[in-house]
Symmetry: C2
């Protein structure tokens, strides 16, 4: 692992100046003979340009960071899957940050933008605090936020529409004739928990269905917790005929418990998840789920950032990704088997 060759090494070997070497390496007009000598020397030495020195000079790193709360969360991974190829195609490397849902870590990432080790940042914050907004205003590189920021914040922004998403689910269940539609939510002090809970209430109101707080059960965004929440709910409200779960994991827990309790899905109880992760299609019965467009949001964010990196200044943009209800066997009127057939096709 000896020290690698530099343009100096090449210059010596080829008997030319480093300026000529640089010119040849960058394809600038040069005499054929010089080109030949330089290329030969570079080849023999196994020269590879030093990206760091290049960045220092050019002030561009060709790196972009993606900061998310948790590498383990399938919704973020869906974003990652879309972001990666877009950046790669444009010649950017992707630097990954997992902030472990710690706000201080997010601020840290924003701060580290000043270190200039990346040209831009895509961030999906757990919540948006005052500190976030201050850092954003002072950011020394372009940032795209996935998630809602206050109106007027001067940042490119990609959001989901969870309000409409919840409405799609509730309307669907209502259309199937369900009238005892429960919501199994995560903690209300999280952004998704709060907004989805509120949207549920609104959707019911618009349908003229009275709000019954007995039908709301708070747990956490994991399978086992979701299962426990559903068990409690069933004990309290035995006549529930539909469950709107705040994410797919909760919904899987719901399926577990319903099965154990001998309730048929969807005949006795229909179940809807949210996020439409891979798990939804894998479960049995396959899970109807509200896609909040994780993948689309990731793609849009990457594209916005690239435009900003290449295009220069323009007004901040807001992209809202519409939700989509993906109907599968857990709510379908038809038999589970045929629904599954369709899904696989």
């Amino acid at each position: 692992m000896a020290d690698g060759p530099t343009i100096n090494t090449i210059a010596e070997r080829a008997g030319v100046s480093i300026a000529s070497v640089s010119r040849v390496l960058n394809g600038l007009p040069t005499r054929q003979e010089t080109v030949r000598k330089v290329m030969a020397a570079a080849d023999e030495l196994g020269y590879v340009r030093n990206a760091v020195a290049r960045s220092l000079k050019s002030r561009r790193t060709h790196q972009v960071a993606f900061a998310m709360a948790d590498v383990g969360n399938p919704a973020y991974l869906a974003m990652l899957r879309q972001i990666q190829p877009v950046l790669k195609a444009a010649g950017y490397r992707l630097v990954l940050h997992s902030t472990d849902a710690v706000v201080a870590d997010e601020i840290d990432v924003l701060h580290s933008l000043g270190e200039r080790y990346v040209d831009g940042l895509i961030m999906s914050p757990l919540r948006v605090t005052e500190a976030h907004l201050e850092m954003l205003a002072a950011a020394r590189a372009p940032v795209v936020i996935i998630g809602s920021v206050p109106d007027g914040t001067r940042v490119d922004n990609v959001r989901a529409d969870s309000r409409t998403g919840v409405r799609l689910a509730v309307d669907h269940l209502y259309a199937l004739g369900r009238r005892r539609i429960a919501m199994v939510n995560g903690p209300l002090d999280t952004v998704p928990g709060a907004s989805r809970g509120e949207a549920y209430r609104e959707a019911l109101r618009d349908l003229g269905v009275p709000y019954d707080e007995n039908l709301v059960q708070i747990g956490d965004f994991y399978r086992a917790e979701g299962g426990r929440a559903v068990a409690e709910l069933l004990a309290r409200v035995p006549d529930v005929d539909a469950l709107l779960c705040a994410n797919d994991l909760i919904a899987l827990g719901a399926l577990d418990v319903l099965r154990a309790a001998g309730r048929r899905v969807p005949d006795d109880v229909a179940v809807v998840g949210m996020d439409d992760t891979d798990l939804a299609a894998a479960s049995w019965p396959a899970l109807t789920s509200v896609s909040l467009g994780s993948a689309e949001r990731g793609k849009a964010a990457a594209e916005l950032l690239l435009e900003r990196l290449q295009g220069g200044d323009r007004e901040p943009r807001l992209v809202t990704v519409p939700p989509r209800l993906v109907i599968r066997a857990s709510t379908a009127g038809e038999s589970a088997e045929s629904a599954d057939e369709r899904e696989r096709a």
Copy 2:
């Protein structure tokens, strides 16, 4: 987004030399008064050190790359989940590469190591060609390979033991009394396809079960393809009583088709997957799967690389991660319901 302040800016403002600024910023012994002035100036200016310049000087980027075939593959994501926190804790950033299963792209990543934008690399190659080995031998930074390399290759190496893994599965099925154990595999020209297929044959031989090529079906490593393969298999060998699937996706496809065909799982046909991805626990019936230790391999690789980065020279190391059979309802003798209960606990 004006140009950020540098140590020069600070030096002017504080009325000292850039050398003093650097010393203060790095905590080297300095007079109190100087420290105060520099810190004050730095604070007012909102100074953040430039990581690129630092790297150029120190020859360390504090970045590590992870190159995998496909960001979409849950097995790689399991590695990623373990690698990320280990690197983060050690102060390294993670640069992600997805090579899209293109060998040329992998070589490219290896080549780009010479650009020195990272201090080291963890790579999980699809296959290991001569070109790989040449590049590895000439690599200008430490590399850890996840996956088997030829004996004698001077690289830190973390491997799974798919041979034993397959054996665990076959023995398990045999112990359950199954004698018509089929293998649903992916393409044989892939590394996993080849090794798993071979291991299946060996495991049967050691059990004294005659090898029946009718029981081997080749498809691809995806759900729909797996389903199709199983359908063909069922048509050809109706009396099959167990399926060993080369990954979890194939196994999910198998469950689909078996259900559609009215075969009960596990009563009529037992099903085993491989990789033990999240999907295995999500499916119904929950899928027995052979964990090849994706998570453990990722963790081990990250630790090996860190040791190498911090520790300096030592002989290349080989870590082999043992497989583990995770028994769930798709093979369990007990009722599916009770097995599911246990799984959730």
